[in-house]
Amino acid sequence: MKQLTDLATPFASVAEALISAEGTVPWLKKLRQDALTQFNVLSLPAKKEEDWKYTSLWSLSQQSFNHHAESVVIAADDVDAVALLQDAYRVVIVDGVFSDELSDIDALQSGLSISALSESVEQLEHKLGKQTELTKAGLNALNTMLMSEGVVISVEAKIQVEKPIEIIVVNTGNTANLATHLRHKIELESGARATVIEHYVGLTQDSYFTDVVTEVNLAESAELTHYKLQQESNNAFHIATLAAHQAQNSQWLTNNISLGAKLARNDIHSQLLGEQSHVTLDGLYLVDGEQHVDNHTRIDHAVPNTTSDELYKGVLDGNSHAVFNGKVMVHKDAQKTDANQSNRNLLLSRGCEIDSKPEMEIYADDVKCGHGSAIGQLDEDQLFFLRARGLDEVSARSLLTYAFAVEVLTRIPNQVIRDALAEVIEQRLPKTGGKV
């Protein structure tokens, strides 16, 4: 049997080509080179690593990927059809390439800047890689040495962005086994407010690989509402890191909805570095068939008087497998920390598997922390009640499943986004009874 290290080589050769390409600015060359060096040491994570105990990248490493997308044209209507929101600043990436034509960022309000990474990377010296540690895992190194597209959003001090910004990442299936390596950077200066949606969509059921790192930096009193909606092909790999640094009094509300992909892995990390900062870290995974989803979250309460609230819910059907690992670190001086974490799972079949591991490490003594994990099935009394009111069994099950799932949307302040996400979730439920 080959080792993962050997099989990971193709990624390294693509990186070498990028590094030696003419015209690469020296600092980026160095960043990629350092990442490649790390990747050659770390390789893709293996199951013996604690953080990868339940998720194997074997099938990813077995596959060879194409790093050059053939050019493809898709219609604006096709983007409208998959977009979560119609009234939004829209940034569209098709098969790993930014599409100016399909995007709607020409008339931005003042104080807001949105650009494609491929067009602005030279201005990002000292900005990239601040929220992620190259050395932490092979996957961040992989992304850093290969990142070729993404979206860079910055909002100036005290500016409130009026419309949500939806980043739509589409895989058309036009290029077989395409790998795309995306890096998004969201930067809010002090007192700025914005809403950003990362939306990943597969138009086919083909195999491909989306690798994304999103770095978020929130200055003092900045407020970011952030959603991630992952609707990749059921044969795709989706590997993502989302990391934020939060200064004093900043608020980050994020909701991570994972519906697609054969293998999806999210590493989500908030560092509460300033007092009175807060993070709400919610998520939902809805998987069936042979899908595998792994959410690793981590919240660092680094200073006193910070708060966090986390609710992750899962609905599992078929032979799917879900992993939840939520770590909350309360550091030594982080007195008066208030942290809440909950992971609840609904199992709809006998073949599915959930590994749920909520963790709290507390080194301060004056804190309020609670966490819990629950795994259950649909409630028979509720089912009978609905059937006794005339709903057939399929509709009753579907309604209860929906009700379980949409609880993760309750903290979304924007009604339009909440309704749009609720509709996406409803459509994803087992559809045999029809809407009542």
Binding site: F385, R387, A388, R389, L391, D392, A403
Partner: protein, 253 residues
């Protein structure tokens, strides 16, 4: 309307109903009274179609159909309504959604179109007046955080909206204070009609002061041991249930 013949039912191999015979004609209100453990709730659950009961003997004919062969939802669609003793809370499902889904399920069976949003709301509002419920209850999750009285009123609201042919009220009076009992009773009385039959299952005579039955039956150890009119309930109130235990086994009044 309903004919129960020699009905025997067991739970986990233990026989709970041991030969129930009861005929309920259209428009009649029957009260079934009895001590704890007599089989009152089992009877209502068996009639409504809850899983987990084994019918070992007998039959139940409802509108010329074998009721026991129908699924719970099929019974509901045909006009059988169970008002639950303990209405469940369903977080995440709004009351209005439930009411609409339930009404449309019944209408679909009847071959009727779904009501549009405006007609539906007008209808629901008129029914809510009947049980003095505020409109805010429509937008709350089903029974979540409702008081005992609010839950029971919500059951009667569902009954009023669905207009069943046969309503089974399982201990509808339990947990109600006197004001709530009056509201619930008025709601039920307003729904009495020549086409609708009601079976009230209760431990106490109190409810029967407000909803006056045509017939009263005493259930003990899985059998109806005595039947009469509303005077029987008053007698029970005086003497308690102790005497029913002294009745010889297998005796049907």
């Amino acid at each position: 309307m309903l004919e129960i013949k020699n009905l025997h039912a067991s739970v986990d191999g233990k026989e709970i109903l041991r030969g129930i015979n009861l005929t309920v004609n259209a428009g009649e209100v029957h009260a079934i009274m009895g001590p704890n453990g007599a089989g009152k709730s089992t009877l209502s659950n068996v009639l409504a179609g809850r899983d987990g009961y084994e019918i070992t003997q007998g039959e139940v004919i409802y509108k010329n159909e074998n009721l026991l062969e129908l699924e719970a939802e099929e019974r509901a669609q045909r006009g059988v309504f169970l008002a639950f003793q303990y209405p469940v809370e369903i977080p995440g499902v709004s009351n209005i959604y439930l009411l609409k889904a339930a009404l449309n399920a019944v209408r679909k069976y009847q071959g009727l179109e779904e009501l549009d949003a405006i007609d539906f709301l007008t209808l629901v509002r008129s029914k809510m007046e009947l049980v003095k419920m505020d409109e805010q209850f429509l937008h709350r999750s089903v029974n979540e955080g409702f008081s005992g009285g609010e839950k029971k009123r919500n059951e009667i609201l569902q009954m009023a909206l669905l207009e069943p042919s046969l309503a089974i009220l399982d201990e509808t009076d339990s947990g109600l204070d006197i004001d709530a009992l009056k509201i619930v009773s008025e709601g039920v009385n307003a729904l009495r009609s020549q086409e609708r039959s009601i079976i009230m299952i209760t431990h106490y005579q109190r409810l029967l002061d407000y909803i006056v039955p045509d017939f009263v039956h005493v259930l003990s150890k899985g059998q109806i041991v005595k039947s009469g009119d509303k005077e029987l309930a008053k007698e029970l109130e005086k003497t308690g249930y102790s005497w029913v235990h002294d009745q010889p086994e297998g005796l049907s009044a």
